[in-house]
Chain length 301, copies 2
């Protein structure tokens, strides 16, 4: 089982509070110490679009060197890739893998990237070619793979076609995102079944949101189909800013609690992960929505 | 699919605020209007032990008459049964079915009932015989079926043996409770498989807590094994009083959201259920931890 920690990027970009660069690095170090093998550390998007991650260059050039930890950073376009390269243009610092993203629904992609899905895919194809020539690997995200806030249901065949393009151009893995947290196990099974007709199981990951409490049920449905890679955010960091306590990302502690309880090996130290969750709460100055984090707090009362 | 609503009993008994009798009846009526077929309305335990439900007699004698709704009340012993009978000793009021309970672990049963498991089972056997002679049906709960706060892991064969006793003496259904919310899908499958060796699937229900976020994953695991009855509490009412926002009972909205999204028929109107959840929040004066309830609030912002 492989857990991708997305809190420092996907989590923090949805928080109204902006952490200082040293605070971010402290959180990333705590997550690395917990044994998380992949940590999405930041995003090279426009600082105007996402001021929370405006220090991507500083973060990328000061990542803690921890054995067996791979860092990733979101890269929306050629310009983002140049920033990533510049930040890493120094010997002895941990290597960052770029991650690219596209929405499964046309309207969400236009809203998010101000261009159509086809245009995004074309730029990704070029970008991945360049990056692979430099010897790096690229991960891809497909947003709104379960449902779109503007278009509603999304055809799983459309998602499968996008996955084909992304794997075809050399991305090593595609993470299917339930961006608005509407997925159910039946839908997860259908989507995974269709995608796995062409893609090998280890090339597919799931990125579930716990908006309706169904994230772990969807993880279970995908596990049963052979998917072994799941994204999660420490403490459920990145909950919806409009509803205090409301949940966006699946909490890493909840995911690891379930996987470990099922006898599956993750390499993550649950106790240290809970400590990292507490650190995130202290740094942000408020509680996070993850269930297990709350349960562990209660246990100590 | 059958959903048992336990909020007015299991939920309210874990709230520090005590609702007035009219408020409880208003909540129960809203739940009945939402189409929930079974509602656990109150408990005839000692008012000293659980002051939140001290008005069980008043609630039981004033339940709203709604077609196709069956009410249940927890009955710990002969004295509780006499109170139930007295409260119902009037023509034209909705019938209450008694529900009995026992823990799978000796220490929890002693802590909860001040007597051993065998003693509780013996009294249940006598009580069920009397009740059935009067033409009523009896449901049973097995607490700590997944884990005990004092003893840790609980042997599923021990749970299966208690289920045998309960079904053997005439209970129509046994609900297996994950009282401290530690269960994982692997454990759920193991427990259900062992219990279903002797018991028919429709005689077994699951009562999951969402303490670590695994409740719906456990529901899915049991669904796949043929279990079709699940307990839940409106809004997740009855969260742990020591941690604001922490979750105890699985929220009924989350359960219904998932079941409906999987194309399964519950008979419950999701929109009216969310209204009942909002009513519970207004009556209690604070937000409830259910995920879907928060998601629906956000959607309207």
């Amino acid at each position: 089982m492989t857990v991708y920690e997305v809190g420092p990027r996907d989590g923090l970009q949805n928080e109204s509070a902006v952490l200082t660069t040293p605070s971010k690095l402290e959180l990333i170090a705590a997550l690395a110490r917990a044994g998380l093998p992949f940590i999405e550390a930041t995003s090279f998007v426009s600082p105007r679009a996402i001021p929370q991650l405006a220090d991507a260059d500083e973060v990328a050039s000061a990542l803690p060197l921890v054995p067996d930890v791979t860092y990733l950073a979101l890269v929306p376009n050629e310009k983002g890739l140049q920033r990533l390269r510049a930040a890493q243009d120094r010997p002895g610092i941990p290597k960052l893998w770029p991650a690219v993203f596209v929405s499964a629904s046309e309207s969400h992609n236009r809203k998010n990237q101000n261009r159509g899905v086809e245009e995004t895919l074309s730029e990704i194809e070029k970008l991945v070619r360049d990056v692979r020539a430099e010897g790096s690997r690229v991960r891809a995200y497909v947003s709104t793979a379960f449902g779109c806030p503007f278009e509603g249901a999304v055809d799983p065949r459309r998602v499968a076609a996008i996955v084909d393009r992304l794997l075809g151009c050399g991305c090593y893995q595609v993470s299917l995102g339930d961006t608005i947290g509407v997925g159910t196990p039946t839908q997860t099974r259908r989507l995974v079944d269709i995608v796995l007709r062409e893609a090998p199981p280890d090339s597919i990951a799931l990125h579930m949101h716990d908006t309706h409490g169904t994230a772990l049920a969807n993880v279970l449905a995908a596990l049963d189909r052979g998917i072994a890679t799941f994204d999660a955010s420490v403490g459920g960091l990145g909950g919806c800013p409009y509803a205090p306590g409301a949940s966006g990302n699946l909490a890493t502690e909840d995911l690891v609690y379930m996987l470990v309880g099922m006898g599956l090996e993750t390499g993550v130290d649950y106790g240290r992960l809970v400590e990292a969750g507490r650190l995130a709460e202290r740094l942000l100055g408020h509680r996070l929505p993850g269930r297990a984090l709350l349960a562990e707090r209660t246990r100590e009362v």
